[in-house]
C-alpha cells in the first residue's frame, strides 16, 4: 500500500479537509471586516465548491471495470461503489445544509462554523468507509465532536449551550460504552477488522458467548445513541430545538445517514456470526433481537411523544426517533434487500429533514420562534414553501407517491421475509400502527399551515432566494424519488450487488 494509493482512496475526504482549511483561512484572514452576509456567502461558496469537487471525484473515479478496490489500507477503509454512493449522498446533504446556513444570523464565527460542518462531513464519510474498529471509533468521535460544537454555536441563546452540553455528556457516555463494547469484541475475536471478527465469530458457532452478548449490547448502545434510537434518544429533542437550525439539519440528516450505515455494517458484517432471531416464534439470542427491541421502542416512543409537542423542532426530533425505528427494520432484514431499503430510506429521510429544517429556519426568521402556532397562516404567506412543507410532512407520514411512502413499503417488504416465515410480522404491524399515529401530528403541522387563520401581526423579513431554491429542489427530489424510485434504487441495487455485504 503506497501513500499514493492511500491518497487516491481518501481523496474525497482530503478535498473536504482542504476546503475546510481554506474556508477557515479565508474567513479569518481576509473577510474579517466584511458584513456577515458576505462572509457567509463567500464561505458557503467555497465550502460548496469543495463538496462538489469531492462528489465529482467520487462519481468520476469509478473502479476499473467493475472490479472494486474494496478493502484497502490494511483493511481499515472500504472504497466500493456502495460507499461512494453514500458519500455522494452525504456530500449532497452537506451542500444543502451549507446553503441553508447562509441565512443564519446566530453567529459571527462564520469560518469556524463552516469548517466544523465540513469536518463533521469528513467524519461521516469516514464512518461509512470504516471497516476497522479503531477507524470506526475515530470517525464516530470526529463527527460527534464537531456536531457538539456546532450545536453550541448560538452563543446568544442559553438553550444552545444547554443542548450542546447535554449532547456532549450523553455522547461522551455513549462513546465510552462503544469503546468498551468494541474492546470486548477485540478481546473475543483477536482482530479489529470487521471481516476478521466475523470469521472468528462464525467459527465459534453454537451458543452465544455471554461476553459477546455484552459486547453486542454495549456496541448497540453506543451506536444507537448516534442514530437517536430509543432509549438512547434523550439528547435529541434538546439538541434539535436548541441548536441553530443548520446544525440541527446536519444532525438530522447527515449524521443519521452515516450512523445507520455504520450500524448496519457493524451488525451485519461484524456480527454476522451471531445474528440470533427476533421472530415471533423463534427467539434466539443475538444482535437481531437487540436491534428489534430498539426498533420497536423507537417507533412507539417517538410517535407517541411527538403527539404532545408544541414546538416543531422538538416534534421533528421525536419524529426522527420514530424514523430511526423504521430504518432499523432494514437492518433487521439482514440481507441485501434490507440494506437497499435502509439506504434508500435514510437518504430520502435526510433530504426531507434538511428541507424541513430549511422551512423551520424561514419561519424562525419571520416570527422569531418555531412553535406550532408560529406556523399559523404560513400557507397564505408563502404558498410555494408551504407546499414544499406539505410534501415533506406527507413524505414523513408515508403518503404516496412520495419517497417516504416508498421507503416504508420497501422496508416492510424487505423485512417481511419469505413465504414460510413471517416472523417479523409483529414488528411490521407495530410499525404500521405507529405510522398511523404519526399521521396525526404531521397533519397537525399542516393544519396550522393551511387551516388556521394567520395572526394579525405583520410577518418578518423575507428569506433569501438561496434557501427557497434549496427547499424547492429538495421537495422536488422527494417527489422524484417517490414517483420514480428507480432513480435512486437503480444505482443503489447495482452498488449493493457488487459488494460483499
Amino acid at each position: 500500500m503506497s501513500y499514493l494509493e492511500l491518497l487516491r482512496l481518501t481523496a474525497p475526504e482530503i478535498i473536504i479537509v482542504l476546503t475546510a482549511l481554506v474556508v477557515l483561512a479565508a474567513d479569518l484572514l481576509v473577510l474579517r471586516e466584511d458584513p456577515l452576509r458576505n462572509r457567509l456567502q463567500i464561505g458557503a461558496a467555497f465550502a460548496g465548491l469543495g463538496c462538489v469537487i469531492a462528489a465529482g471525484w467520487l462519481l468520476a473515479v469509478a473502479g476499473p471495470g467493475g472490479e472494486l478496490s474494496a478493502l484497502s489500507a490494511g483493511g481499515m477503509f472500504a472504497d466500493d461503489s456502495l460507499t461512494r454512493l453514500m458519500k455522494v449522498a452525504l456530500l449532497g446533504l452537506t451542500f444543502a445544509t451549507i446553503l441553508i446556513s447562509t441565512e443564519g444570523t446566530f453567529t459571527d464565527h462564520v469560518g469556524e462554523y463552516l469548517a466544523l460542518i465540513l469536518l463533521a462531513t469528513v467524519g461521516m464519510m469516514l464512518m461509512v468507509s470504516a471497516t476497522d474498529l479503531l477507524m470506526i471509533f475515530i470517525a464516530l468521535e470526529l463527527t460527534s465532536l464537531s456536531l457538539y460544537v456546532l450545536t453550541a454555536f448560538n452563543k446568544r441563546d442559553p438553550k444552545s449551550s444547554e443542548a450542546a452540553l447535554k449532547y456532549f455528556l450523553f455522547g461522551g457516555m455513549a462513546a465510552a460504552f462503544t469503546l468498551f463494547g468494541l474492546s470486548f469484541v477485540y478481546g473475543l475475536a483477536g482482530s479489529t477488522n470487521l471481516n476478521d471478527i466475523a470469521a472468528h465469530l462464525i467459527n465459534k458457532g453454537g451458543a452465544v458467548d455471554p461476553l459477546l452478548l455484552a459486547a453486542m449490547a454495549l456496541t448497540v448502545v453506543g451506536l444507537g445513541f448516534k442514530i437517536a434510537a430509543a432509549p438512547f434518544y434523550m439528547w435529541a429533542p434538546d439538541a434539535y430545538q436548541g441548536a441553530p437550525t443548520p446544525s440541527a439539519a446536519l444532525i438530522a440528516s447527515g449524521s443519521k445517514v452515516a450512523g445507520f450505515f455504520l450500524l448496519a455494517r457493524v451488525m451485519i458484517v461484524g456480527f454476522a456470526g451471531a445474528p440470533g432471531s427476533g421472530s415471533w416464534h423463534q427467539y434466539s439470542t443475538g444482535w437481531l433481537p437487540l436491534v428489534a427491541i430498539l426498533a420497536g421502542l423507537s417507533v412507539v416512543t417517538g410517535n407517541l411523544a411527538a403527539i404532545a409537542q408544541t414546538n416543531v423542532k422538538r416534534l421533528l426530533a421525536y419524529s426522527a426517533v420514530a424514523h430511526a425505528g423504521y430504518a432499523l427494520l432494514g437492518i433487521l432484514a439482514n440481507d441485501s434487500r434490507g440494506i437497499g431499503a435502509l439506504v434508500y430510506y435514510v437518504i430520502t429521510y435526510g433530504v426531507t429533514a434538511v428541507g424541513a429544517f430549511g422551512i423551520v429556519s424561514v419561519v424562525e426568521e419571520q416570527t422569531g420562534n418555531a412553535r406550532l402556532v408560529d406556523f399559523a397562516g404560513f400557507g397564505r404567506r408563502e404558498p410555494v414553501l408551504a407546499f414544499c412543507l406539505m410534501i415533506f410532512m406527507l413524505s414523513l407520514a408515508g403518503i404516496p407517491p412520495l419517497a417516504g411512502f416508498f421507503g416504508k413499503f420497501y422496508l416492510f417488504t424487505a423485512i417481511a421475509g419469505g413465504a414460510v416465515n413471517l416472523g417479523w410480522l409483529w414488528l411490521i404491524i407495530l410499525a404500521i400502527a405507529m405510522s398511523a399515529v404519526s399521521f396525526y401530528y404531521y397533519l397537525g403541522v399542516l393544519k396550522q399551515v393551511y387551516v388556521v387563520a394567520a395572526p394579525d401581526s405583520a410577518p418578518g423579513p423575507r428569506s433569501a432566494m438561496t434557501t427557497r431554491v434549496v427547499i424547492v429542489v429538495l421537495a422536488l427530489l422527494v417527489v422524484a424519488f417517490g414517483c420514480a424510485p428507480d432513480l435512486l434504487l437503480g444505482p443503489l441495487s447495482e452498488a449493493i450487488h457488487g459488494v460483499r455485504f
Binding site: 403518503i399 404516496p400 413499503f409 413465504a419 413471517l422 398511523a436 393544519k447 428507480d486
Partner: protein, 494 residues
Amino acid sequence: MLAWTVYISFLGVLALLCLPAGMARAARVIALVIALAGMVVGIAGTVCSGMNGVWFPIAEKPWVKSLGIEYFLGADGISLVLVLLTGIAAVTGILFSWNVEHRAKEFFAFYLALIGGVYGVFLSFDLFLLFVFYELAIIPKYFLIAIWGSTNREYGAMKLALYSFIGSAMVLAGIVAAYVVAGGATTNLFELAKYPFPEPFQFWAFPLVFVGFAILAGLWPFHTWAPTGHVAAPMAASMLLAGVVMKLGAYGALRVAMTLFPAGLAAWRNEIALLAAIGIVYGAMVALVQKDFKFVIGYSSVSHMGFVLLGLATINGIGLSGAVLQMFSHGIIAGLLFAVVGRMVYDRTHTRDLDVLETMGLGRTLPFAAGVFAVAGFASMGLPGFSGFPAEMQVLIGSWYAFPTYGVMAGLGIVIGVAYTLRAMQKAFFSDSVETPAEAAHPLPPISLPEKIGAILLIVVTVTIGLYPKLLLDLIIPSFYSPLFDGLRQRGAF
C-alpha cells in the same frame, strides 16, 4: 384514453394552483371544465369499450423494476360504472359549489385532486398503484373538510383522516404480506389473484384487508367517522364523501380483498354479512332520532352502504351485481340528498336543526328544493322507478341464497328507511306548524341555475337507471366472469 380522466384532473389541479388568489370565478369555471372533460372522457371510454364489461388494458409500463411494480391501468365493467359515477358526482359537486368564495381556487384544487385520485383507484390493476391512489385521496379530503367545513370541522376532518389512514395502514399490512408470500416478484393484481395463498394465511389476511377497506365503506362498527365527517364537511365534499369515497372502500374490498383471498372470504362471509345487516338496521334506527338534518343523511349513508357490503358477502352473481349497482345508485342519490340539505337548505337558512326548520315552512319558500328532496327521499327509500330499487332487489335476491335472516333484516332496514325519510321530509319541508315563515324573517335567495342543472342531472340519472338498469348491468355482470374473479366464482354460488 380513460387514463386521461386521471391526468386531466391533476392538470386541473396544477392550473388552479397557478391562478392568482381571489379569482373565484375563473377557478370555478376551470374546475367545471376539467370535471366535465373528465366525465366526457369517462363516458366516451365506456361507450368505446363495447359496453360488454370485458376487461381491457389502458396503460402498462414498468415502474419499479426491482420490486416488480408496474404502472398498470385497465378497466372492466365495474371500473367503468364507478368511473361514470365519479364523473357525474364531480360535475354536480362543482355545480353545487358554485357559490364558494373563500379561498376558492384552493377549494377546487383539492377537489380535483380528490377526483383524480379516485379515478386512479378505479382504473388501477397493480396493487401498489391502487394503494398509491387510494392513500393519495386522503389528504385532499382532510383539507376540504378542515378549511371549508362547518360544524366541528377540525375534529371531523381529523377523525376522518385518521380512520382512513388506519384503514389503509391495515390494507398496507395485508398488501405487503400478500406480496411477500407470493414471492415478492410482482404486484400485478392478475398475477396475485392466480397465486394460491395458503388458507391459514388467507384466514387472517382477508379480514385485515377487507376491514381496512371497509372502514372507508362504513362497515359497522367502524362507521363512526362517517356521520361526523359528513356533517363537518362542506356540501360538495359531503357529496363526494358519501357518493364516491365510501365506494372507494367497497371497491377496494371487492377488487383486492375478495379477489386475492377468496378462501378467506368464504370463511368470514357470515360475520361480514352480520355486520352489514346490523349496519343497515342500526344506521336506519339512528337516523330516525337525529335532530340535525345532515346527520340523518349521514346515517342513511351508513345504512345504504350496508346493502353494498351485504351484497358483497353473498358471493353469488346476482348479489354481487346488486352490490355494484347499489354503489352507483347510492352515489347518485346521496349526492342529491346532500345537495338539498347542504346547499339548498343550509346555505340559505344557516341551520340544520330539524325542529327549527320545522317552523320555517320551507315547502312554500323553496318549492324546488322540496320537490327535489321528495324525489331523492323516495329514491333513497328504494321505491321502484329509481336506481335504488333494482340494486336493493338484487342484493335481497342474492341474500335469499346465502343469508335469508340478514335479508329479512335488510327488509326491516328498508321499512325504517321509509320512516326516517318521511320524518325528515315532513319536518324540513312539509310541516304544519309554521311559526316564522322564512320569507318574513328575510327573503331566501332563489335556487340558482347551477343548482337546478345539477339536481336535474342527478334525478335523470337515477330515474334512467331505475327504469333501465340493463345499461349498467350489461357492464357489471360480465365483469364477474373474468379470470380475475376465478377464485371467487369457485367459492360462491354463481
